[in-house]
């Protein structure tokens, strides 16, 4: 039998196995370190570094020290830094090619820590700049409300009343010139006297001779008709001038009325201009807290995005795979002990935050919840946090049923003592919450791609204030004074949209409190400014108004002349008409008399002829 056995061969085999095992023991630490760093860096998009890793056999597992995960958006800061990670592997599951971590404990977990060197990858382009959420992260812009000196303001600004007065003055000057010219073109007293003389001249000079008188009367009628036509033309010109005058006067009266009302309108405009815009200050809380809320929301969604690959629960359809040459495909069979390929059953961690330690546990971290049949759950609570009554963060990421994933989280923090919290970092208006006790409740849910969340924060025993480094504007001063008066306020936020495009709506009674306080302080200043401006404006407008009234008085005189001319020309026309009527009557009378006389003469002749015929025919 022994002639079939090659003892040196057995020794070689044992030696090879021993070398392999020794190699694993010796280099496992480096292999794990390299694997964590390379896989982590690839997944994170920025450097993931580990100080060391050590393998243990009982229980089978690893201990990792000082894990630093670079914030891809800020390469000089770590998104998270973990002092020590220890985890135990399920050896039996490992033999079945499943990575099952039974217990993972992370100690000294801190977020947003500084790095000594940049964690950016040289060959990877910098990640896209964070999308600015309009309205939430906009800087707080103050309307221009510094109140100027009333006299200076009137000197440097063109007011409607002044502008109207200038226009009116120019209009009246121009009108005066035009009407003087027009008056010169109208028939004056000399022309009217001439008409009267012509009336006298055309009266018929009767001499008792019927024929001559008749001719004279006819001639007179003819001349009077010509005179009447001439006067009528002048009457029409005067009437037209009178109508134009009436229209112009109506316009000047209107403009004069506008001018009287203009200073009032100017003052109203001033009041409006230097009043606090209700809309502009309707959401002061959004301006104050929007940036912070957007930062927290972004941070939450950033971590959710990082955790998302661990939640992808759909199993690959094995039957649909095309085999690679020489590789074949793996056919899966039902597992008696349903275990996903990757699973962390329990992940306990202590997150170090400025207020203390946030301790908690995440259960069932796997990319195959369908196989596991249980959702990922997490629960955190506060430890060693002085001045905090209650803090709880819990949530469920349920991807057990493919295509019907529901992720939800709830956060509660009551009696949070806030001491010096920078609300607004804007240099022109840095708002600081020096002191407050806050009760905060928040919940968020993601289902079918729809993101919904709400947050309610009750701020009590508040000390708000603004700390200016340099000089402050009028409104900043007033707003700072108003902030000091705030003792408590509520802040409510509603989140909706999708992970890619979400909107946060913020509401707070702080808006109303601030607006009221601002209005109280600002209204008195505005009223004083408007009163000063009124006084200045009245003085300035008064002189102009007197001058314009004098000009209007002059123009009224021209109107009187027009009226007089019209009266005179009408009188002359009436006289001419009267003379014409007399002459016409006389002419008619003469014609009638002549006709009567002719008739009588004819009758006499006929009677004579009749008598003569009777004599001759007397038998």
């Amino acid at each position: 039998m022994t002639r079939w056995i090659r003892w040196w061969g057995l020794a070689v085999f044992v030696l090879v196995i021993a070398i392999l095992a020794g190699g694993i023991v010796l280099f496992a630490d480096r292999l794990v370190k390299g694997a964590v760093e390379s896989v982590g860096t690839r997944a994170n998009g920025a450097k993931v570094e580990l100080s060391g890793a050590s393998l243990s056999f009982s229980p089978l597992g690893f201990a990792l020290t000082d894990l630093q995960v670079t914030d891809a958006h800020h390469p000089l800061r770590n998104a998270v830094q973990i002092q020590r990670i220890k985890f135990a592997l399920d050896g039996y599951a490992l033999l079945r090619r499943n990575i099952v971590v039974t217990d993972l404990i992370a100690e000294g977990v801190r977020t947003d820590t500084p790095r000594t060197t940049s964690g950016a990858l040289p060959q990877v382009p910098a990640p896209e700049a964070e999308v600015k959420k309009p309205g939430l992260t906009d800087s707080f812009s103050f309307p221009q409300v510094d109140l100027p000196d009333a006299k200076q303001f009137l000197a440097s600004n063109e007011l409607t009343s002044i502008k109207l007065a200038e226009q009116f003055r120019s209009e009246l000057d121009q009108a005066k010139e035009q009407w003087n010219q027009r008056l010169a073109e109208l028939p004056d007293s000399a022309a009217l006297k001439k008409y009267e003389e012509r009336v006298q001249q055309v009266r018929p000079d009767l001499k008792g001779n019927a024929l001559q008188d008749a001719q004279a009367i006819a001639e007179s009628v003819k001349q009077l008709q010509a005179l009447r036509d001439d006067i009528s033309k002048d009457v029409q010109r005067v009437q037209s001038a009178k109508q134009a005058w009436d229209a112009d006067w109506a316009t000047w009266a209107r403009h004069s009325k506008d001018l009287l009302a203009a200073p009032g309108a100017d003052l109203d405009h001033l009041k409006k201009k230097y009043s606090l815009d209700a809309k502009g200050f309707a959401n002061t809380s959004r301006a104050l807290f929007g940036g912070q809320i957007a930062h927290w929301t972004d941070m939450g969604l950033y971590w959710y995005d990082k955790a998302k690959p661990l939640l992808a629960g759909d199993r690959a359809e094995v039957q649909e795979q095309r085999p690679q040459r020489g590789k074949g495909i793996d056919v899966r069979f039902a597992e008696r002990d349903q275990t996903p390929g990757f699973l962390i059953r329990s992940f306990k961690l202590g997150l170090e935050v400025p207020a203390g330690i946030l301790r908690g546990e995440i259960r069932n971290i796997t990319n195959d919840q369908v196989t596991l049949g249980h959702p990922l759950t997490f629960n955190f609570f506060a430890e060693n946090m002085p001045g905090l009554q209650d803090l709880e963060l819990e949530g469920v990421f349920n991807h057990v049923v493919p295509g019907a994933a529901v992720d939800s989280a709830r956060f509660k923090a009551h009696g949070v003592v806030v001491q010096r919290f920078d609300v607004l970092h804007q240099p022109s208006f840095p708002v600081v919450l020096s002191e407050a006790a806050v009760d905060l409740d928040a919940a968020v849910k993601l289902q079918d791609g729809e993101l919904k969340g709400d947050m309610s924060a009750n701020f009590k025993t508040v000390k708000l204030g603004a700390e200016f480094a340099g000089s402050a504007g009028e409104l900043q001063k007033i707003l700072a004074a108003a902030l000091v008066d705030v003792r408590h306020f509520m802040l409510k936020a509603q989140l909706q949209g999708s992970l890619q495009a979400y909107d946060v709506e913020l509401r707070s009674d702080l808006d109303e409190l601030l607006r009221d306080a601002l209005n109280r302080q600002f209204r008195a200043r505005v009223d004083k400014f408007v009163a000063d401006a009124k006084l200045q404006l009245d003085t300035k407008v008064q002189a102009t108004r007197r001058e314009l009234e004098a000009k209007l008085g002059d123009l009224k005189g021209i109107g009187g002349v027009v009226d007089e001319r019209q009266k005179q020309v009408n009188d002359v026309q009436q006289k001419a008409e009267q003379e014409l009527r007399l002459a016409t009557d006389k002419s008619k009378q003469q014609t009638d008399e002549k006709t009567q006389s002719a008739k009588q003469k004819a009758a006499q002749e006929a009677s004579k002829l009749k008598d003569r015929l009777k004599e001759q025919l007397k038998f």
Partner: protein, 172 residues
């Protein structure tokens, strides 16, 4: 390759037992046909090293059947897929799938199972056939071969020089 072939000829012409040579070739077939990193191949390597299997024959078999496997992989895949889906065997596969050895063996891979079945089917017939051929060779071929014209020409070739050098180094 020449060296291995020369060694094989040397072995064929030596007093090495035909079983050692045929077993080497057949175990080479197992490792060559099936994917290398599998549990059964560790066992095969142990057998090759521990038992007096002819290593040259094993290496030749490994090279030859690995090349052949490249062409036969689609066939192994089809066979493995068909066998893994046989209804009556589902309980067996499921039981095996739920064992650590089953998962380490990676039997649920179509190429692994297909090629392993082919090696199991071919192992014994091939072993017997090669044994028979070696015996036949040793009885008839050397005498006839030595006197043939071809050998006279062959002895004058480079291959023969290599063969001779190997013969001097490797004790028969």
């Amino acid at each position: 390759m020449f060296r291995t072939l020369a060694k094989l000829l040397q072995v064929l012409n030596s007093e090495t037992a035909p079983g050692q040579i045929s077993l080497g070739l057949c175990l080479g077939m197992v490792v060559g046909f099936t994917p290398f990193f599998t549990l059964h191949n560790v066992l095969v390597l142990l057998l090759v090293l521990v038992f007096r299997v002819n290593v040259s024959a094993f290496l030749l078999g490994l090279a030859l059947f690995s090349a052949l496997a490249y062409l036969l992989d689609p066939l192994f895949h089809q066979l493995g897929l068909a066998v893994l889906h046989v209804e009556d065997l589902q309980d067996l596969w499921t039981d095996f799938y739920n064992t650590a050895i089953g998962r380490l063996e990676h039997f649920n891979n179509t190429v692994v199972l297909g090629s392993f079945i082919v090696t199991l089917l071919l192992f014994l017939p091939l072993l017997l056939l090669i044994n028979l051929l070696i015996k036949h060779y040793r009885t008839h071929v050397p005498g006839w071969f030595k006197n043939s014209r071809l050998v006279t020409m062959f002895k004058a070739s480079h291959f023969y020089t290599v063969y001779q050098s190997v013969s001097r180094v490797v004790p028969s």
